[in-house]
Structures are given as structure tokens and as C-alpha cells.
């Protein structure tokens, strides 16, 4: 791909609904994950809970952060909850996104024991929302702007960079995860089955495990592996994109139903997947029709 084509692809305007959906869903999924930590902030960040001592550069402890006072812990937890909700509602969008990203990043480093994929991803994903005009539509900021100036245009599109970042993030994440699985046991051992036998097991998982024949677990495992390893291809090709979207959403739904607390990771990834590649037929129809009208006008101008 030439530089120009790459730049055109990266900057091609995208329906603003995709960005709005990301802005709504990402902080809510992260807050859902963090909710059990926020409710016990004194144990999570403060002196009431257990904290790993300073191990002096141990690879499992990326940075030693001493526990804070109980009051500070509750203040941080409150600020995370408020900024996350504000970001989702599109209220003071940029300050809320910056605050949320910084505080979630800090707490993820402060407690290695409670660092999981969701809160490790959250700071970067939220920074992307911070840099984009995420509050331009479908939020309190946008409503307030229209209320002050009813003639101001309603944005229908957004510069493509931020949406392309999220689309590439998904493809890289799936592909990297698939490669790690292929390098691990997924080609030779039944992995899915073995991970459903600990405290992550839900009632639904247990029922499904009793209902599905053994061979189907292998079929599901290979489906996940092929989907993930080939994700960049499946999402790049228009012919396979819809099927990839369905398989991806199905995979996240199964993870959410069967792996207990992993439901927040499933919601986060599933909502990013839908926002990035979903058809958004209702929300985005305005932008699509406007583009069509522009094309017709161009054609008339060319004839005239």
C-alpha cells in the first residue's frame, strides 16, 4: 500500500456514531470491572488490605507504589467513578477522559494483584477517546452546545484516525492472542474445557458443559483459534467482515456467560468490536444519506 493510500485509509471520515458508541461503552465496561474494587477502596488502595511489599525490581511488580491513606483511597475511587460516568455521558468529555485514564493507569500500577486485561487496556483506550472529539455528538456537551447555538451544525462524521486506531487495536489484539494460543497448547490440548473448572465457572457454563458433546469443544477451540489468528484478514476483506463480526460477538458472548468475572472483558471487547465494525444501520443512516446526496450532486456537476 502506498503512503498516500495508507494516509487516505487512515483519515477517511467515519460515522461519528462509532466514536460515540466507543465513548459510551468503554468507560462503562471498565467501571463495571472496577466496581468490586471501588466498593472496597480502603482494601484496594488503602491501608486496610494486603499489599505486596517492595520487591526491588521484581518482574511481576512493574512499579512499587506504597498504599495511600484511607481518605485518599476513597477520593481516588470516587474520582474514577465520577470521571468514568461523565465520560460515558459526554459531560466535560476531555477532562473526564484525561482524569479517568490517569487514575485507572495509576491504580493498575499501584495494585498488581488487581491488574487484569481490562484495567491494563483502559488507560490507552481512554487516552484515544481523550484525543478525539468524543463529545461532539450524543452527549451532554453536544446537547449543551446546541442549546446555546441552535444553528451550529450537528457533526455526522469524525476524522478516521481514532476509529482506525480502534479497528487496528482489535485486529492486533485478536491476532496476538491467537498467536499466543497457537504457540501454547491450543493445537494439541483441550484448553477451553480445562479452564471451565475453577472459580470462574458460572451456572450457565456448568449447564453447557453437561449438554455439549466432547467433539464440539474441539470444534469451538479451533474456531476461536482460526478466527483470532486470521483476524486481520477476516476484518480487512469485505466478504468475510460480517461473518467475522458475528463470530467475534458470539465468542465474547460465550466468554461473558461462562467465565464469571471475565464478563467485563467480554463486554469491553464486544462493544469495541460492534462500534468498529457493526453496521450501525439506524444511527449512521444520516451520514450515509448525506454522503449519497454529495455523490449525486458531484455527478450532476460533472454532467452540467
Amino acid at each position: 500500500m502506498s503512503d498516500r493510500r495508507l494516509r487516505d485509509w487512515l483519515t477517511e471520515p467515519q460515522p461519528i456514531e462509532r466514536l460515540a458508541l466507543l465513548r459510551i461503552a468503554i468507560p462503562l465496561s471498565v467501571l463495571g470491572f472496577l466496581s468490586s474494587r471501588l466498593l472496597h477502596a480502603d482494601h484496594w488502595l488503602g491501608p486496610a488490605g494486603f499489599h505486596v511489599p517492595d520487591l526491588g525490581g521484581d518482574w511481576r511488580q512493574p512499579l512499587y507504589v506504597a498504599p495511600m491513606s484511607a481518605g485518599a483511597a476513597w477520593a481516588v475511587a470516587t474520582a474514577i467513578a465520577v470521571s468514568g460516568l461523565c465520560l460515558s455521558a459526554g459531560l466535560a468529555t476531555q477532562p473526564a477522559a484525561a482524569t479517568f485514564a490517569l487514575l485507572v493507569g495509576y491504580t493498575t500500577l499501584a495494585d498488581r494483584l488487581e491488574a487484569f486485561t481490562v484495567n491494563k487496556l483502559a488507560p490507552v483506550l481512554t487516552l484515544a477517546l481523550f484525543l478525539a472529539p468524543s463529545g461532539a455528538r450524543y452527549g451532554v456537551d453536544a446537547w449543551w452546545r446546541r442549546k446555546r447555538d441552535s444553528h451550529s451544525p450537528r457533526p455526522t462524521e469524525v476524522e478516521g484516525g481514532v476509529i482506525r486506531f480502534f479497528q487496528l487495536f482489535l485486529c492486533i489484539m485478536y491476532s496476538a492472542s491467537g498467536i499466543a494460543k497457537a504457540r501454547g497448547d491450543w493445537r494439541t490440548h483441550q484448553v477451553l474445557w480445562t479452564h471451565l473448572h475453577d472459580e470462574y465457572q458460572t451456572q450457565i457454563a456448568w449447564l453447557i458443559m453437561g449438554a455439549l458433546p466432547g467433539w464440539l469443544w474441539w470444534a469451538l477451540q479451533w474456531l476461536v483459534l482460526v478466527f483470532e489468528v486470521g483476524a486481520p484478514l477476516w476484518f480487512a476483506l469485505p466478504r468475510t467482515r460480517s461473518l467475522a463480526l458475528i463470530i467475534g460477538l458470539g465468542m465474547h458472548m460465550m466468554i461473558g456467560l461462562m467465565f464469571g468475572p471475565v464478563v467485563w472483558f467480554a463486554l469491553l471487547m464486544g462493544s469495541i468490536l460492534y462500534a468498529c465494525y457493526g453496521p450501525l444501520p439506524v444511527l449512521a443512516n444520516g451520514a450515509a444519506r448525506a454522503r449519497e446526496r454529495g455523490n449525486r450532486q458531484d455527478a450532476r456537476d460533472a454532467r452540467g
Binding site: H43, W44, F50, P133, T156, E157, R183, V191, H197, A287
Partner: protein, 192 residues
């Protein structure tokens, strides 16, 4: 009849130089995620640990589990002079019933790290004696149970917490840490 809507592109608030810098940083971030999961050590040598930590996100369940691991505690009862199981879930209220709680995570990461196990010992003794001054303990045994995973197609009973003694002998117990007898004695003789 279709209603036409004017195209309007949301104006970015960030200056061009910042968006360009963010694009470069974003590309490096995505590349680091991919390289880390693909087994490259390049990221380890280039990024400091606190930054690299945020790129280690894609290795999700790559290995099959051989057994389901449960982490447990036996407490040295000062009144009875013996070890009995201590249900530590109330002492770790964040996700107390699954393996995302701080005790299970600490044991998962650090079951061979004596300084962490000693810190856990001190925390458990202090927290238990504060919560139950009438059931004081002087020390702990930290152990794991290896619960065999049933063959594929035979899910077995629904997973739930149960006391150590209710597990059959086929479930292996491995002891990782025991508080020294002198320390147990000192703590039991100390002021409540």
C-alpha cells in the same frame, strides 16, 4: 421520502502535532502488544517495565490447565495449639469468592517468594485477630489444593467452595509456607 442531512465533520480539538505524536505512540503500542504475544523479547529491551506492563495484555489462556488450583490457609489456633482451616474470604473482600481476590492472586504470583509469604502471614494474623479477638491465631500454613479436572464431556459437580477436609485424598495438598514455631508462640503470648 428520504430526509437529507448535511455532512459535518467534528473538528478535532487537539493540534496536528499532538495527533501525529499520538498516532506514532499508538502504532508503537499496537506493535508492542503483538510482539509481546508473539514471543519477541524486543519490547523487553526497549520499554521500561511500568510501560511494558500495559502492553502485556494479549496472552489470554494460552496453556491448558492440568488441575484446578485452590489456595487455602490453616491458622495456628492459640487456644487449641493446633492448625485448623481458616476461611480467609472475609479478610479479602474484593471478589472474595473467586480467584480474582487478593489472596488467590498473591499466592498465584508469589507462592515461592518468601518476603511476600511473610507479609501475607503478618496480614492474615493481624486481620484475623482484629476481627475475632476470641479466636486468635499465632501463625499460618499457606497451601494449594490441586483438584483434578474431569475428562471432557463429564463436567462433574458444580464448582463451589468447600472445606479442605471435605476434599478426597486424591486432591493433592502442597504446603508453601508455615510460620516458624517460635514466632507463633510469641504472637500467641503477646497482648491481644
Amino acid at each position: 421520502m428520504a430526509r437529507w442531512v448535511a455532512v459535518a465533520t467534528a473538528r478535532p480539538w487537539a493540534p496536528l502535532w499532538l495527533r501525529r505524536a499520538a498516532a506514532v505512540a499508538g502504532a508503537i503500542y499496537l506493535l508492542a502488544i503483538w510482539l509481546d504475544a508473539a514471543g519477541s523479547r524486543l519490547v523487553d529491551s526497549l520499554l521500561p517495565l511500568p510501560l511494558r506492563f500495559f502492553t502485556q495484555v494479549a496472552e489470554l489462556f494460552p496453556k491448558a490447565a492440568t488441575d484446578a488450583i485452590e489456595w487455602r490457609v490453616r491458622g495456628w489456633r492459640c487456644d487449641a495449639g493446633q492448625f485448623d482451616e481458616l476461611d480467609v474470604r472475609p479478610l479479602f473482600p474484593i471478589r472474595r469468592d473467586d480467584k480474582e481476590n487478593q489472596f488467590a492472586r498473591a499466592m498465584f504470583f508469589y507462592h515461592r517468594e518468601r518476603p511476600v509469604l511473610e507479609a501475607l502471614d503478618a496480614y492474615l494474623v493481624a486481620a484475623q485477630n482484629r476481627a475475632h479477638p476470641d479466636q486468635r491465631i499465632g501463625g499460618v500454613m499457606l497451601l494449594s489444593l490441586r483438584v483434578p479436572i474431569p475428562p471432557i464431556g463429564e463436567p462433574g459437580p458444580r464448582q463451589h467452595w468447600m472445606p479442605i477436609d471435605e476434599y478426597p485424598a486424591s486432591v493433592a495438598r502442597k504446603y508453601w509456607y508455615t510460620t516458624a514455631p517460635l514466632l507463633r508462640q510469641d504472637r500467641c503470648q503477646g497482648a491481644p
